[in-house]
Assembly symmetry: C2
Homo-oligomer: 139 residues x 2
């Protein structure tokens, strides 16, 4: 024994224990996220779809994924929305694909949605300041 004593088994246990609590954190927080998503749907009347890839790349989803097709139906708009409101961080799944998609976008077909999104951004900037106005009605 003495100064060594760091058997293989001890190291293994330490590593796995850390991973285990990381997994617990992921599980609890994913559950919390999905719960909040459901609340927004029921309390505020929104429609939400979520895809979560776990640290081990296991997929979890909530909501009808065809909601994504509503955005997906116009790839350019989809990419634009994603880039406009995104923090830019994606994880390690497919980090550069939105750039690739951007080059193949159908600009003509997306005109209306893009205009909608410009309007959205303007409203987003205005919203906080006029939130109490009695004549501001649509979000």
């Amino acid at each position: 024994m003495g100064s060594g004593g760091t058997g293989r088994r001890k190291i293994e246990i330490k590593k796995i224990t850390k991973q285990s609590s990381k997994n617990v954190t992921f599980s609890k927080r994913r559950k919390g996220l999905f719960k909040k998503a459901e609340e927004i749907q029921s309390k505020a009347g929104a429609s939400i779809s979520i895809v979560v890839f776990s640290p081990a790349n296991r997929p979890y989803t909530q909501g009808d994924l065809s909601l994504f097709d509503a955005v997906d139906g116009c790839s350019a708009a989809k990419t634009a929305v994603s880039r406009g409101y995104d923090a830019g961080r994606v994880g390690d799944a497919t980090p550069t694909s939105s750039l690739i998609r951007l080059e193949n976008m159908d600009v003509e077909g997306c005109r209306n949605l893009n205009e909608l999104m410009s309007l959205e951004k303007e409203l987003e900037d205005l919203r906080e300041g006029v939130i109490h106005s009695e004549f501001f009605a649509s979000i």
Copy 2:
């Protein structure tokens, strides 16, 4: 005046005030949801994509939407995951489309992913009970 006194203007203001606070609720909660999604990504190492349609059908997204393609790449798997882990509530956008998609699924191409998901479900059932095990490592 008397017992009437409910002028047109008064009714308008009341209606818009209610809608306004509903919008405030939606805005605050959407912000909170996106914040939590970012936390799970940074703290737990997950990858998340979200699409939210506001009560007025305005789209908000977070994350690289191509994550959905990773699921979307196999429609059957996508639908299966959605149905397996979903609460079943979708809002009012396209409530039945996942059933439609199910009929067009490419079963052969999805074999591996479907197997993965069966395994996932088994693990999901087991996970809570063995979460403290030193040899249970992957979520």
